[in-house]
Amino acid sequence: MTATPATTPGGFLLVLAVLLPAGGVLLSFVLGGRAAGKIALGLTPVGFGLACLVAMKVAAAGAPIAYAIGGLPPPLGIALRADGVSAVMMVAAAIIVAASAFYARAKFVMPEGAPESRGALTFWIMIQAIWAALNLIFVGGDLFNLYVALELLTFAAVPLVCIDGRPETLRAALRYLLFALFGSVSYLLGVALLYGLYGALDISLLAQRVEAAPMVWTAAALMTAGLLAKTALFPLHLWLPPAHANAPAAASAVLSGLVVKGSFFLALRLWFYVLPGLPTAAPSVVLGALGALAVLFGSVLALRQARLKLLVAYSTVAQIGYLFFVFPLAAGAHVWSPLGWSGGLMQVLAHAFAKAAMFLAAGLVAEALGHDRIAGFTGAARALPLTFLTLGLGGLSLMGLPPSGGFEAKWLMLRASAASGQWLWSLPILGGGLLAGGYVYRILAPALADGEVEIKARPQRSREAVALGLAVLALALAFAPRGFFDFLEIGRPSVSRSAP
């Protein structure tokens, strides 16, 4: 994306995509809790439409669309830029936020006359703030600007964890916040070093200027470690299981499906957009190795959880590991790199939809049964068929069985690992699938067996349908046409300067 003009036609859409939910946040503050829900729900279709419009513009132009804020081009000004990956992530974020908001109505929309609750106001404001921050992350073109977006994302995510004010959720939120803060300060230090070297923070400008200097690697290492802390890559996952397992289901879906992807997205930006011209093979192997450990530990721990939400949360730890195979498998400009890149992005999307669906379904199970202990699930699938169908379909994608986005991701990654001769990565990819099969089996086998469960409250059909819809989307990714993968390549730097 070297020769992008400062502002392209349609560039204002990017500003709108960020400002729309941000405006929703402000309006919700002013108008209060009862209106906040309506505002958030009302904005979701508009935001979805905007994201689709951005995607259409990018597809039509075949190149990124950009907007220079205040008409000031980089390096002094800040650019917003949407390429194929940004557009796809924006659409995915809009869908998942919309689904979670719709699902959360039952819990957080206050009927007329009832007193306003602080929890509901928090939820509606924070979910819009997360959305705004995510959109900014997806289109941000300036590393410092992205730092601010990343912090906004964390500040919006933390209150969602402790929305009900129980001590253990507060503790989880505090762990999350404090660890994330150290991550962001590490990222910030890297930003300072890069600016000190090159006097620019715009991604495309930096990409032209960086060289393989020790200071650049220091900056990259600091930024990456910070981003890993926020992504909860093993062994920096101390905050994730309690935070994701204790948040309300609608919040967990957004946290697990989207929020951890925000910082991962920045790691992608760093390694594939800022540093692609440098020899990144060895650090990529470090990242991939951490991913492999995450797959192993996350899956084994998921196998051992007694509660469904903790199981799903640990499965997130494992699935995050898969994301990091993209670094060794898509590095450089080889014939196989596009396979690895497509596989990595497919994993981001498949996990986002599948995990969001599973958290929503886990919330429904917990509400219907009054608990989420897996040992008490015997026969539950007959009582809650749609919900367990959702868990099953989501699990299918996690296991990487066809037809599902998870399968597509694995298939592409395996092909990349074979074609690149890095066949060692196929071991964690396949082994993780087997372990995932184990923990999905643990949920489904007793639920589908004969037995009776006591249903405390029958879940609303519409909420079950929302969760199922997300799971179906995770499956539908398997049928993504070739054009979709070409779209993902739009704006990805061609690695012409690649040394090896």
Binding site: P167, A173, L174, L177, V185, L189, A192, L193, Y195
Partner: protein, 112 residues
């Protein structure tokens, strides 16, 4: 020793102190202070960058200063959020501990 070097050394010392606090002090409030120390160290590094004019070619580059101001606002917001959480936790459980399963902290009895 010129001013840049001094600022750089102080920045490094602050980051080091902060990291020690992060690793060694279990109390969340101390960790928050440690975060602010690391943050201050990083801001000093930004100062050094500004002073050297960086590659932008200015005598004193204003951009890092703008970034530091933004950074301070963000760090302030973060600290406020963390303090609020610590206070809520203290009220809700009568003690402040980050350890979910260990025996440390007076509120261990209330956990699941």
């Amino acid at each position: 020793m010129n001013a840049s070097l001094l600022a750089g050394l102080v920045g490094a010392a602050l980051v080091g102190l902060g990291l020690y606090g992060l690793i060694a002090h279990p109390h969340p409030l101390r960790k928050l202070l440690a975060f602010n120390l690391v943050g201050s160290g990083v801001f000093l590094v930004f100062g050094v960058v500004a002073r050297r004019g960086a590659a932008a070619g200015y005598a004193f580059d204003p951009v890092p200063q703008a970034m530091v101001i933004t950074g301070i606002v963000v760090a302030f917001a973060a600290s406020a959020l963390a303090v609020a959480l610590i206070l809520r936790l203290a009220v809700a459980s009568g003690g402040v501990s980050l350890d979910p399963q260990g025996p440390a902290g007076r509120d261990a009895g209330e956990m699941e």
